[in-house]
């Protein structure tokens, strides 16, 4: 502590420890906020069409088109340590062989408390397709709205905000009207 350099060395050592403790306390404070918001999700329509695969234009496959009605109030999830929410709509179904599949068909990034109410009637953003290329061997599926809370400092946390009340069958594929 005899020179400026020595004082800088000494003070910065304790300062970095204090910063780590402060950030650790902020990360731990996230566990005090336990919000569990719930919303409503309804499927307006689900249609399955024959189409070409995106990558190989000579191959055929079946694509599902979902229109959904979604309303959820996610404002309780915003505390002082929330940076953004990643909200996504998943289609969950099992194949006839018993393999479970989950496909994300719509998502949204919510960056502030003011944008946290979702009230949309929309169609899916991403393709709903099965890996086998066809929905004929597939049992009825449920749709769920899940969210991922991303903090400024700390651990990611996940939750489910809405779910369809009963499973919805995949209709037989038809040719699109041209």
């Amino acid at each position: 502590m005899h020179s400026i350099y020595a004082r800088v060395n000494n003070a910065s050592a304790l300062w970095s420890t204090c910063v780590m403790v402060l950030l650790g306390a902020v990360a731990l404070s996230s566990f005090l906020f336990n919000a569990d918001p719930k919303g409503d999700l309804g499927i307006v329509s689900l249609k399955v069409y024959h189409s070409k695969t995106r990558r190989y234009p000579f191959k055929n496959e079946e694509i599902g088109f979902v229109k959904f009605n979604l309303s959820a109030d996610l404002t309780p999830l915003f505390n002082w340590n929330t940076k953004q929410l990643f909200v996504y709509l998943e289609a969950e179904y099992a194949s006839a062989q018993g393999v479970n599949n989950t496909v994300v068909i719509w998502d949204r990034i919510v960056r502030s408390k003011e944008d946290a109410t979702i009230d949309v009637v929309q169609k899916d953003k991403y393709r709903l397709r099965d890996l086998s290329g066809s929905f004929s061997n597939v049992l009825a599926g449920q749709y769920s709205l899940k969210y991922n809370v991303m903090p400024y400092v700390g651990v990611l946390s996940y939750g489910e905000a809405a779910r369809t009340s009963e499973p919805i069958e995949f209709p037989a594929a038809r040719d699109s009207v041209s």
Binding site: M1, H2, S3, I4, R7, V8, N10, A11, L14, W15, C18, V19, V21, L22, A25, V26, S29, N79, W80, N81, Y152
Partner: protein, 85 residues
């Protein structure tokens, strides 16, 4: 003071003890204070800016060789005759 003396910033031993105490007290209490203030106002920005302000204030107080750190200079005993070999 010469430039070298300013850049070196030497302070006496009592001043070093005072500076060490100030650093420890200010850093630990500003950690606690900025967490509490930010939690009350529910804003991480307030936490980080109070901590940064406390850091800047601390460095202004402790780093330069202020006269208050030089109030107790070392008293050397007077020169005595050479001891006979």
């Amino acid at each position: 003071m010469t430039i070298q003396e300013l850049v070196e910033g030497r302070i006496d031993f009592k001043g070093q003890k005072t500076a060490d105490d100030i650093v420890r007290v200010v850093l630990i209490s500003s950690t606690f204070l900025s967490f509490v203030i930010g939690f009350v106002f529910s804003s991480l920005m307030i936490t980080m800016s109070t901590f940064a302000l406390c850091t800047v204030a601390l460095s202004l107080v402790v780093l330069p060789p202020w006269p208050m750190f030089n109030r107790h200079p070392v008293t050397w005993s007077s020169v005595q005759g050479h001891s006979q070999k």
